[in-house]
Amino acid sequence: MITKLTHTCIYVLNQDSAYDFYVNKLGFKVHTDAPMGKDARWLTVTPPEQPELEITLFPIIEGAMFDKETVQTMTSLIRKGTFGAAVFTCKDLLATYEELRSKGVVFKKPPTKEFYGYEALFLDDSGNWFSLAQINS
């Protein structure tokens, strides 16, 4: 029986820039930042109220995992905004939307009423998009 999700991946184009976006703009906490030799780093962050879920900020770089062609294809697709990576929730969408916008976060959909509550869509610094929802209680 599967019980929990503990790790998930978001592919990013630049880990330093992703660190700044997820930590300083979204307010996520750094869980593990481990140097893994030259040009490699294991970086995970957690949503502020979900410290047990590690989101790995995975760089798209040529190496054992990605060959050159894959790096080019994935970089292009992420930049184009192809991938919707996750749904985040917040207590108050309008306030969160105003705060993130003031920090320079780009929204592709403003807060909109949906059957389950309110939803907005924002982009990270790479081009991944996320749903930000306030769910009806």
Binding site: A34, G37, A64, M65, K91, D92, L94, A95
Partner: protein
């Protein structure tokens, strides 16, 4: 029209929250924060709490402790950390830190230093094996 008024109020509360985020290390008090939002103190506290789940005063305390954790992880002394987050008395800083985190600042710093050293010395212990193998880090 009601929607516009609501957005206007939200913008002011968010702006006050960002004011706290920016000036948490200074000696700001509730009146400063309410003034920043152009609200009566009572109305401001009620609205702030409904949005962020904490009163502005408690939010400021929690923010200072979160920032203090970051500074302690970076190796700053307890005295310097208290000063850098706007809590000048070491006794009240230590007391507040323990009340919120359940640990003294020195205990917190010690356990974080041990964890940091472990990550640097044995990083693979902190990475799921599947990821380490895919990256070729196990070789």
């Amino acid at each position: 029209m009601e929607q516009y008024e609501k957005i206007y109020l939200y913008k002011r509360v968010v702006s006050a929250k960002l004011f706290i985020d920016k000036f948490y290390a200074d000696s700001i008090d509730l009146d400063d924060i309410a003034d920043q939002a152009n609200f009566s103190k009572f109305h401001f506290i009620r609205l702030f709490k409904s949005i962020y789940g904490l009163t502005p005063k408690n939010y400021l305390i929690h923010l200072r402790i979160e920032k203090a954790k970051e500074l302690l992880r970076e190796g700053h002394s307890i005295l310097a950390t208290g000063l850098m987050v706007g809590l000048e008395s070491p006794t009240s800083f230590a007391g507040m830190f323990k009340k919120i985190t359940g640990q003294t600042p020195s205990h917190f710093q010690k356990s974080e230093t041990i964890r940091k050293n472990k990550i640097n010395e044995h990083p693979l212990q902190f990475i799921p094996n599947c990821f380490a193998e895919t990256h070729g880090w196990k070789k």
